[in-house]
């Protein structure tokens, strides 16, 4: 299977976000912020880019106590991420065969 290199996912922090979310069903905003070691506003900007691309959804479930924000990849986001990883693996394989 040949993957599709994805410029939206390629940025390091967005790649980290996608890799983390692809390994889970859903993750909390603060967990992603700690993973990246960035301010809330920086994470929000990255999430917005991915959200605008249709790669993730952000929800704030209602309930008692402090409302937490949850983030999950959409099926399109998972497909794009898998394609990007396959493209990266293809590039490495290409480098090996050229040596």
């Amino acid at each position: 299977m040949s993957g599709q290199f994805d410029e939206v996912i390629h940025a390091p922090n967005r790649l980290r976000i996608c890799a983390f979310l692809a390994a889970t069903s859903e993750a909390e905003f603060a967990v992603l912020r700690d993973l990246l070691g960035v301010a809330d506003s920086v994470l929000s900007k990255h999430l917005k880019v991915l959200q605008d691309a249709g790669y993730l959804t952000v929800t704030k479930p209602t309930g008692r106590g402090r409302v937490k924000t949850w983030v999950k990849l959409t099926p399109a986001g998972r497909t794009a991420y898998r394609g990007h990883v396959t493209a990266l693996q293809g590039l490495i394989e290409q480098d090996r065969t050229q040596i």
Binding site: L15, A19, E26, E28, G63
Partner: protein, 147 residues
């Protein structure tokens, strides 16, 4: 400095390892789930229609509460049926519940005895705890191995 594909795969591996480190199920989670299943099965096997319906509603509410508590504590959620190879352990938990339910109901229905139903439940609790822990181990292992 320009990144290459190998650097990107390292970023991905680190993110997956971060999930594995984060994915620590509280010690009480699987015992509580096992006891919830045992109580539900007992009520279903021994109770009348009203008891069966109430037990099902209470079980669904309790399971929802248990999952939301887990999510609040850990900050991550991995659906048991969306976990790749590790999902076989969560499917086995479902099978244990189905066998326990059918066995307990069948035993009581055919013999009228209560004690076999009660004797079955500790085994179900132990099976749920063991398989739940195997699921967690399998998830962590595949997070640390693949990309």
């Amino acid at each position: 400095m320009e990144r290459n594909a190998a650097d990107d795969l390292t970023i991905i591996a680190e993110a997956r390892a971060a999930v594995a480190e984060r994915y620590i199920t509280p010690w009480w989670y699987h015992p509580v789930l096992g006891v919830m299943i045992a109580v539900y099965v007992t009520a279903f096997a021994l109770g009348g229609t009203v008891v069966k319906l109430v037990a099902a509603a209470v079980f669904v509410l309790a399971a929802t509460r248990l999952a939301s508590t887990y999510r609040r504590i850990t900050g991550v959620w991995i659906n048991g049926l969306e976990a790749g190879r590790a999902s076989r352990w969560s499917k086995l938990v479902g099978l244990v519940m189905a066998v326990d339910l059918a066995g307990s109901w069948g035993l009581h229905f055919t013999t009228g005895l209560v004690w076999p139903v009660l004797v079955l439940q500790p085994f179900a609790v132990v099976a749920v705890v063991l398989m739940g822990r195997r699921f967690d181990e399998a998830v962590r292992e595949q997070l640390r191995s693949g990309v």
